[in-house]
């Protein structure tokens, strides 16, 4: 948004990356078994961190926008290609179940010397390479059903504020549910 001059971009990127990496690692995202705990209900750290982060950032954006310190409508929103997003998500889910990392967390795993994380990151590069080489095959799917920079509340036909509120309530509900389930499930040592 041009708050900071261009030349500082890379330094800022580095600093934000450090913050990102630190909060991921410190919460335990460098361990694939801890991450996978969410799916087997023995450790809901991913769910907690993920949703807390999302609602914190969202709340911040809402309030800063209201106070005129930033402009919500200027924020970049990923273009939405329906089929491509769903297919990509399913492929990633499959990769998630096998590898136990996602790209960001695998880099923190690399940082603390997890060999499986290194292999996973290597796989990422190979995966992107494969995709690019086979792009002509995927092109149709990749570019189909472009809905533009769509937002979820527009699609659901509600106000952004209502959606924000519902998301917060849903997140708090999920935290409560997670704590409840965690108590019932047998602890897994890892």
């Amino acid at each position: 948004m041009g708050v900071i001059p261009e030349t500082w971009n890379n330094v800022i990127a580095l600093l934000l990356g450090v913050g990102f990496g630190f909060s991921l690692e410190a919460s335990g995202f460098s361990s694939s078994r801890k991450i996978m705990g969410t799916f087997f209900a023995y450790d809901f750290v991913v769910l907690r961190v993920f949703f807390t982060a999302a609602i914190t950032a969202m709340t911040g954006i809402f309030y800063f926008d209201y106070m005129g310190w930033m402009d919500m409508s200027m924020l970049y929103i990923n273009p939405y290609y329906v089929m491509s997003a769903i297919v990509g998500g399913i492929i990633m889910g499959f990769g998630f179940a096998l590898g136990g990392f996602c790209p960001g967390t695998s880099f923190t795993g690399v940082a603390i010397g997890k060999i499986d994380a290194m292999v996973f990151s290597g796989g990422l590069f190979i995966g992107v390479f494969i995709f690019s080489e086979l792009y002509p095959l995927f092109q149709g799917l990749y570019n189909s059903q472009n809905m533009g920079n769509a937002t979820i509340y527009e699609m659901l036909g509600m106000k952004s504020t209502v959606f924000g509120f519902l998301l917060i309530v849903a997140a708090v509900g999920m935290f409560y549910g997670a704590a409840f389930v965690e108590k019932k499930v047998k602890k897994v040592e890892y």
């Binding site: 926008d65 209201y66 917060i168 708090v172 935290f175």
Partner: protein
């Protein structure tokens, strides 16, 4: 259950309720009046006729000229490659489809630069990006490019260069005046065809 967690849940839900009471941003992409005024005060939206011509000659694919004059005037004369969106239909769905993309520089022009600037202000307010105004409009374009005036003998090198450029550009668009009669008819028709399509792709050269 930890009491502190209850407190934190309370805080975040209270903040959420606060969000609920914020004025909804349904007019989301609107540029606020103060910001719009600052944008109006900033002359960087104006592109000179020579710049535009240069990009037209080079067939810049990222340039989309938009003629905001009434259709009748557009038919009489328009800059090659331009598409017609009269200012009255600026907000129509089809016009917005053409305008609301970030891939191209959309340059509004009218006879002078008043109507085009009005179109720019409204568009800027609705949040369109990469929009510009051609300074001086088609009147200026016509008098500088088509009827380029030869600079005085004593003029500086750059003025002469500019003149040469303008002459070359005009020949690029219309051919030389001697052979104007027959081959031009085809070129003109082609131009009109481009208009009918009114597709975003019609950017390069009409001629």
């Amino acid at each position: 259950m930890n009491k502190r967690y209850l407190l934190l849940a309370g805080i975040i839900i209270a903040l959420g309720v606060g969000i609920l009471f914020m004025p909804a941003k349904d007019t989301a992409k609107q540029t606020q009046p103060a910001l719009l005024l600052a944008a109006i005060d900033d002359p960087s939206r104006f592109l000179s006729t020579d710049d535009i011509t240069d990009r037209l000659v080079k067939k810049d694919p990222a340039l989309l000229l938009i003629d905001v004059r009434p259709a009748s005037q557009f038919k009489t004369f328009s800059i090659p490659g331009a598409i017609n969106i009269p200012v009255d239909s600026l907000l129509s769905a089809s016009a917005q489809e053409t305008l609301n993309q970030k891939e191209m520089d959309k340059v509004f022009y009218s006879n002078a630069d008043v109507t085009s600037d009005q179109a720019w202000i409204i568009s800027k307010r609705t949040g369109l990006q990469r929009i510009y105004v051609m300074q001086g409009g088609v009147n200026q374009w016509f008098s500088t490019i088509v009827k380029a005036e030869k600079p005085a003998e004593t003029a500086s090198g750059s003025a002469l260069e500019l003149y040469q450029f303008r002459i070359a550009a005009c020949q690029h668009f219309f051919g030389s005046p001697e052979m104007a009669a027959t081959p031009k008819a085809g070129a003109e028709k082609k131009m009109v065809k481009v208009v009918k399509k009114a597709s975003g792709a019609a950017s390069g050269g009409g001629c």
